[in-house]
């Protein structure tokens, strides 16, 4: 059994860079780069099946400034191996172009059973890749999965639904996107895993290796054209207390609420 996990790397949202600056790659250091939290849920989904069924799990990273770093962490978590796809001719801001790259990567990898992805990329809220990939592959899919159970015909998957959870059955070959749920809570890297990751050889593929060019997956090929990108100026006036000892902060808040005649309590 072979599982491919497509992961993304983002700039940690804990960094001080705010608004538009956050997306300025020249201001980002390697330490700021982390695996997209949702991609970690996907890794966990695949690794649970590895534990259970002895699956081979390959992590693939296309979107990110230093995919190699993210992939070493994926191996440290327990992935069997990893593939880096890095090329300035790939425009990863468009989920459709990213889906095209994923399809060709799967073609080059060869046989596989399941594809796992995270439900969304945290920094932009982009979620379309899972649906686009499964549609391009023509494979059955379940998105926003929260739990997964192996059954005779394939998998029983519970996914997020407004007001509850929906349970469906899917065949053994397909695409699953994973949510931040108890079942998909990512494991930590192990000491042994970290050592394996250090030694691991991670092949690097380019667009040309996948038979793709910038006219197919580059910025010139996108149908999603950026018109503007700017900071949001809040109209709302907020009173946010950042300085002081905890006790002072609370006193400050209560005094301000009193001044504004906001009654705390029934």
């Amino acid at each position: 059994m072979k599982i491919i996990v497509f992961i993304e790397q983002i700039v940690s949202t804990q960094v001080k860079l705010q608004g538009v600056d956050y997306f300025d790659s020249t201001r980002v250091s390697e330490d700021d780069l982390v695996i997209n939290p949702s991609s970690k849920n996907a890794l966990e989904g695949a690794l649970k099946l590895k534990d259970q069924l002895g699956a081979e799990v390959t992590a693939v990273c296309v979107r990110g400034l230093k995919p190699n770093k993210a992939l070493r962490e994926a191996i440290a978590m327990g992935c069997t191996d990893a593939i880096e796809i890095a090329d300035e001719n790939i425009y990863t801001d468009d989920p459709l172009l990213l889906a095209k790259v994923y399809v060709e990567a799967l073609g080059k990898i060869g046989e596989f059973d399941l594809v796992f992805l995270g439900v969304e990329e945290q920094s932009t809220g982009s979620y379309a890749i899972g649906a686009m990939l499964s549609e391009k592959l023509g494979l059955p899919s379940v998105l926003y999965a929260e739990e997964l159970e192996v059954i005779d015909s394939g998998y029983k998957v519970g996914h997020v639904l407004e007001g509850g959870r929906k349970i469906v059955a899917m065949p053994s070959k397909g695409v699953i996107s994973c949510s931040d749920s108890q079942y998909f809570t990512p494991r930590y890297t192990s000491m042994r895993g970290i050592l394996t990751a250090k030694r691991a050889e991670i092949p690097k593929w380019t667009a040309a290796d996948l038979g793709l060019s910038s006219s197919v997956v580059g910025k010139e090929a996108t149908s999603l054209i950026e018109v503007s990108f700017s900071n949001i100026v809040l109209e709302k006036e907020s009173y946010i207390i950042k300085e002081g000892e905890p006790e002072e902060k609370v006193e400050n808040l209560l005094a301000k609420l009193k001044e504004d005649e906001v009654k705390l309590g029934a």
Binding site: A131, E135, K166, I225, V227, S228, K236, K242, L264, A266
Partner: protein
């Protein structure tokens, strides 16, 4: 003029709220010439059509089939592609629910274009449609346009208000059949497990809610204690209810309950749109260790600090 097709969603036997919000938004944009709604199901109820008309739909196109009783990607994509072919819209939009977000990117793939995701505004500039998507915890705004004859988009949940006094008329109604094969039904519906809603938070005046930052089941005690002192209710994000730190009835947000208290205290909550879309509070007070957390964008008051330190002090001061 922009002819628009909206994916009509039903939740618990009525038209889903965010879909009504999308309709309201579309009626406000001059330049939208016709609002068509696609309705799918095993049955199509007259009251749904009346409701859609009231909220601005001028035409409802329905497909009735047992395979469409519950949303499943393949049959819904197939039906929607046929509606698109018949109605020839320039914009296809769905409210950003789980189903809407599943459907729209798939339709876009079939038309060879990308899609706009989780928009909170649409504008028409010249003869172009501009889609506004907030990013980086709502600190920046990306505006995109989409090339191609048909544009596809989803709204962000809670982005558009529902018109409380809609005055639209009766829409034109048409229906047609779509046939499905076994290949379309490879993913099979088993059941929907409705979350237990034993506590109604809708009328709560004060809510103290916890998020992932609370850290565990036992740590929720301080949230409960503060709520009790304030005479309020407790609430939580889906992340907390899913890991059973707290009962699922307390989930607030897109997939939980919608609330409109006088005071909402958000402790250890990052402020993801899926949670914030369920809150319409007069006053929101946020406590979070991360100064850049999106919740501070929505907060009227806030403390940057650890809730496990701040809340006990707050409790003590309120008691004393």
């Amino acid at each position: 003029m922009v002819k628009t097709l909206v994916f009509g969603q039903i939740r618990e036997d009525v038209i889903e709220e965010n879909t009504l919000g999308v309709l309201n938004k579309l009626t406000e944009i001059s330049g939208i010439s016709e609002i068509i709604v696609a309705l799918f199901g095993h049955q199509i109820k007259d009251e749904w059509i009346t409701e859609l008309g009231k909220h601005g739909a001028s035409r409802v196109v329905s497909v009735k089939a047992p395979e469409l009783e519950v949303y499943l990607s393949r049959p819904y994509v197939k039906a929607m592609l046929e509606v698109i072919e018949k109605t020839e819209p320039m914009l296809v939009i769905a409210a950003g629910t789980v189903y809407g977000e599943d459907l729209i990117p798939r339709l876009a793939v079939h038309h060879g274009v990308s899609c706009a995701q989780r928009i909170n505004d649409i504008s028409i500039v010249g003869d172009e449609l501009h889609f506004h998507t907030p990013v980086r915890d709502d600190q920046a705004m990306k505006v995109n346009r989409i090339e191609g004859a048909i544009k596809f988009a989803t709204s962000r949940a809670g982005a558009f208000f529902v018109n409380e006094n809609p005055d639209g008329g009766s829409p034109n109604v048409e229906s047609f059949d779509v046939t499905f094969s076994e290949e379309d039904m490879l993913v099979k519906h088993i059941e929907i497990k409705k979350a237990e809603r034993t506590v109604n938070l809708k009328d709560a005046k004060i809510i103290v809610a916890g998020g992932r930052g609370v850290g565990g089941k036992e740590q929720f005690q301080i949230i409960r204690e503060l709520a009790e002192i304030l005479g309020g209710e407790i609430g939580a994000t889906r992340a907390c209810t899913d890991v059973h730190w707290i009962e699922e009835t307390y989930e607030i947000g897109q997939t939980g309950q919608s609330v409109s208290p006088d005071i909402y205290i958000a402790a250890g909550i990052s402020g993801a749109p899926q949670h914030v879309s369920g809150i319409k509070a007069k006053t929101l007070i946020a406590i979070n260790t991360d100064e850049g957390a999106a919740i501070f964008n929505f907060a009227d008051y806030g403390i940057v600090g650890d809730l496990h330190v701040i809340l006990p002090i707050l409790k003590q001061k309120l008691q004393g």
